[in-house]
Each structure stands twice: as C-alpha cells, then as structure tokens.
Assembly symmetry: C2
Homo-oligomer: 214 residues x 2
C-alpha cells in the first residue's frame, strides 16, 4: 500500500478582487486517478483548486485557490507520501501587481505584466528522496512529444502523461504515457474514469511494482 | 405575463487554447431571479456563461462562453422580450491578441495587452424601445453607490442592483436597489434564493406594475 498525493484541478491568479487568470480544468482526471488508486488499496490525499466535481469520499481533500497555495500544500504533504501524481493544471502566470480594488473601465487598453508562478511538479521533482516518485502531466498544442519529453527531464518525472487541449473540461481524453527513456509506453483513449484506471495501472507496473521504487 | 431575458454567470476570454481571463460568478443569483420570475408566471430566457449550477427547467437556457457570444445572443433575444435583467458578470477585458498555440514558459515576463469587451447592458439600454426595460447589476469595491449611479445612467438602466465583491460565488449576498432618481429603494441581505424573490418583487413594483412600462 502506498501513500499517494494527487494535485488536481485548476488554480486561479487574481488580478483584482474580481478578475482572475485560470483555465477550464475540471478535476475529473484527478478524481478518476484517485478512485483507481483507492480501489487498488492505496491511501490518497488530493490537493485541489476550485472545482465543482466531488472527489471520492475516502480521499483526504485539501482545497486551495492559487498556485502558491497549491505549492505550499504540496510541500507540506509530499514528504510523508511515496509519490505524487501531478494532474492539476496550475495557473502558470500571475500578474506582477495585484490591485486591491476592482479596476474600473476607462476605454483605454490595459497593459498587464505577467510573471511565471513557481512550478509545483518541478519543485517536488527536485526535492524527491530516493525511491520517492513523481508522475507529471503535460498539455501541449505544438510539438507535443518533444516538449513533453523535455518537461519530463527538467521536472525529474518518473513517468509523464501527455494530453492535448481537448482534454480540458471534457468527459473524454486521449493520452500518451511517456517513459524517461523516451519510449512511449502506451496510448489510451476513452472516458476519463476508464482512463484513470488504465493510467494508474501503468503507474503500478512501471513504478509501484518496479524494484527501483520498492 | 412578461417575457423576461436574464443574462447570468461569468464569461471567459481566452488568451491561448488553455488560459483565459474570467471571474468566479456562479450563476446562482441568475437562477434565483429566474425561479422568482417563473413563479410569478412570467416567461424566462436565460443566456448563461459557463456555470455548474442547474437553471430552472421551465426556463429556456442559451449557453455561451465569451462576452461577444453573450452580447450576440442578448441582441438576438432582447427585441422579442419586455425587459432584461443583467445579472451576468461578463469578462470586460479581452487580450488584444489571441494566441493559436499554448504559450510556453520562457522564464521571462509576459506583457499582455488587454482591451475592453463590448458592454452588454449598455448596448441593450441604448437600443431599448419605449416601455422596454433594463435592470442592471453592479459590483463595486470603491465608492460603490456613486459608481453604481453613474453606471445606471450611462447604461440607461431602469433599476440597478448594487452588490459587493463578497457576492461572487457565495450562497449569501447583500444588495442595494437603486432607482434612476438616485433614491435607494431597499437594502436586502440573505441567501440568494430569498434575495432573488425580494429583488424580483422590487422589479414588479417599480417596473412591471408601473404605468410607465405597461
């Protein structure tokens, strides 16, 4: 039995008290992976951004809003876990300045300066212990496999799940499971609940049941 | 019996295929007003941005994503309606350039140029027929009453409902009903279902039962 951390859903980066940057991640893939892991008898903690879906009741769920909060929670929980599945879509840019009052319209253009938020999976990957593991997700619209392989290496992931932009806020998904060797281990397509089981089975075969991680 | 159009929920303005600007409007206040109007025997059409809540089944619901789509739908439906309640929180800025591919992180700042989206309620207010009516909502964090009165006049609203930023994505709300004369007609506080009834009763008393609109 492993202790598994799952990051799930989007995060939001507020510009003023009302407006924010985000994405349409629904948390469905995170919920599906949590169900698969629980069914296989593992302990699951989910750190989730704002989503409407219900996570399995046997999982511990920690709700956050921003990428910074998700990173903090991930750093709090990761040391006591065997590994993390980073299926969240954290908002990766934040405004350089956050306005305390709602910006009123003036008829003029608004020049917004954005800076990158910290990378949660890269941070966990760079601090992982021997035998502790990290599974990343990537969503790419251009040169997807090349960019995904680069992400897997720079973020020190032990497996990477590549999906396309149609995955977001959808019931269906198509994913490609990439190994750090560069090999594509599998391509799966279907509804997210079924995909959750198949992806988790790949994590079991390549990580949980591998002598490198036991 | 009146034919009432309700705009509800947030809209999204995409920056690239994944990231968007939006706000946390839940559509709850729109659903509450729709229920109150249906209960009073009126016909209700709702134009809604992406929300998870369920609208009353007796309402016609048209789903949209962007502010431009909400405006187009509002202009399509408004001519055949007696009035509109604009409780939506349309995203009022959009990127001047929308990127066809997901922008990759570079470690550098990202300077995003935003321009205003068209104002839906102001557009409907400027084209309304005699006896056709417009009820606006405003959410202000600074000089709320002054800014709300200015909005009511420039957008040619027949009533304006002022709420604070705590209204967003909450079950509770506090609202102030403002009349174009500058008078505060009422202040209500409570859960959104009850507020929907009270606000709709004010619309009946001041518009639907007023000789100016019959």
């Amino acid at each position: 039995m492993a202790k598994i951390l799952i990051t799930s859903g989007p995060t939001r980066q507020y510009i003023d008290p009302v407006r924010f940057l985000s994405n349409a991640s629904s948390g469905r893939m995170g919920a599906a992976l949590a169900s698969a892991a629980l069914e296989a008898g593992h302990d699951v903690t989910i750190i989730s951004g704002p989503v409407e879906i219900a996570y399995p009741s046997q999982a511990v769920v920690k709700k956050v809003v921003t990428t910074e909060e998700m990173l903090q929670a991930a750093q709090d929980y990761f040391p006591s876990c065997d590994g993390v599945i980073g299926v969240a879509a954290p908002c990766d840019y934040r405004p350089s300045e956050v306005f305390p009052h709602k910006i009123s319209k003036t008829g003029q253009k608004w020049h917004l300066s954005l800076e990158e938020t910290p990378d949660i999976i890269a941070t966990l990957g760079s601090t992982k212990r021997p035998r502790q593991w990290v599974v990343g997700f990537a969503l790419e619209t251009e040169d997807p496999r090349l960019r995904a392989l680069r992400k897997m290496i720079t973020k020190k992931c032990d497996l990477l799940v590549l999906n396309g932009p149609t995955a977001i806020d959808s019931l269906e998904n198509q994913v490609e499971i990439l190994h750090p060797s560069g090999k594509t281990l599998a391509i799966f397509q279907g509804n997210k609940m079924e995909l959750g089981k198949k992806i988790f089975r790949m994590i079991e075969q390549n990580i949980l049941e591998s002598p490198d991680f036991v």
